[in-house]
Amino acid sequence: MKEPQIIVCAKQIPDPEAPFSNVTVNVEKKQVLVDAPDVISPYDENALEAAIRIKEELGGKITVLSMGRKVSDTVLRKTIAAGADALILLEDPLFEGLESNSVAYVLSCAIKKIVAYDLVLTGRQAGDWDSGQVGLILAEMLDIPCISMARSIKIHDGAVVVEKTVPVGYEVVEAGLPALVTVSNEVGELRYVARSKMLGLLRRPMPIPKWGLKDLGDNAERLKKVQLMELAPPADMGRACTIIEGSTDEQAARLAAVLKELR
């Protein structure tokens, strides 16, 4: 078969694994401030890994799409270092704080502009808002088959074959191309990218197209923003912790007593 053209949608978010002491909720401004560097949302890295494995087997081209008000190519160059071929940034002040449907709309406009594609991969959910919607909506908008929660993806005879996690185990499903698949962590972590390779890439000039709303149909009325009414810190989860001190033997004895009391 011809070499597959794969699009991976990758969102930039503040590191979701930052310790919660680095997260502040500003109730008045209705803002969450995360004192951590931006990263590629973890499941999107899994999606990229799945794409790279397909490319290793069949060849083809991987294009990474990332949308936001301001998208840093420093963060996203990691995708090139790992094995993606092209990066397209969808950047516009109007792309801030959009509802899922509008995010999917912008991505769909960009994908239609790319024209030739066989497979679109997204993460199962973005690590900031954990919505888990954009991939599925995007498939609807592109009017292509949609498979969610992939733990393995193969392209075979013009079709995509996916092992999808289901409550009783996994299901093997198949769809004709082009198709969209949302990817879960069971696919495996993104391969290691040496820092030197990353830095080398940063120095090398590389054309990175930036498309704004004007390039994508200029349809500002179509974009809806999230209507946040209130933002609150979570209820206090802290408990008064009794630290069990002593030698290992003493610790074990006291812990055994605690566990036996559960009855």
């Binding site: 919607q133 769809a175 812990l255 055994a256 559960l262």
Partner: protein, 328 residues
Amino acid sequence: MSEILLLVESKDGVLDKKTLELIRGASGLGKELGIGASAVVVGNQTAQLAEEVASFGLAKVYKLEHPLLEGFKPDAWVGALEWLCKQIAPRIVLMSHSFVGKEVAPRLACRLNTELTTDCLALKIDPNDGALVRTKPIYGGNAIAALRCEGLPQMVTVRKNAFEPAEQVTAKSDIFDMAPAIDESILRVKSIKTVPEQVVELDKANVVISGGRGIVDKDDFQMLTDLAAAISKALGNVVMIGCSRPVVDKCWMTSDRQVGLTGTIIAPDAYVAVGISGAIQHLVGMIRSKKIVAINTDPSCNMFKVADYGVVADYKDLIPALLKKLEG
């Protein structure tokens, strides 16, 4: 006709507890808005399930029946529900934030040209205009947002335990047969086979012992299994093994054992966290446990902040010693 519609889910013919919670939630919202709450049962043969659902005080129960709806094929379910929503034009649509809800709700929302909020913890009606206000954790649970969206129906998926389960009443709801206009052509994804795996249901355990990235050797999970056996023997209860996500990523455990935001959310009598740092996405899965015990080499780890008992120790030393004490 304006009503609240909720999607019924079942497993092996047994009504899902999350559905009972949705019924309670929908009934409450219905009262506030002065409209009825209805349920839809989707499948090929749904009579029995529909009868059962009809005993929970809902205004109506829709039987959405078609041979293509046998089993869960997302394409067919989305198509059939789209058809139903276009027939009855519900004002609010509620689904559980379950395997089915997560897959069906976004696609349905797109087809109905409305906006969905997923994984809500609470719902209320805005007294000013009757809009559905959606409370949802964001940033893994580090912040709680209250949002509203335009568009009809107002659509959400709801996290388990958001409402108390509904109770049966004597009056029966009316049951309506609905035959959706769908055919084979809507199936775009073909199911080749389903491969069952042994699946544990962590929410059935009295005690869950979980291992995290701190467990350095796969074989060391045997220690946790031994500990589970010892506790089970001492207390006569159900003890299961869970884990944090890195353990699943390493393929040492299957994802049904993962506790947390994207795993299982549980509230056992006791949770023992071994070598787990306490990332927010993990905590949201176990914070409602009645007693939390943490074993960790790092005295400053987050898990100690939410635990009732903490032991600063290397599990490799502590667990063998603990086993002796439990057996002695």
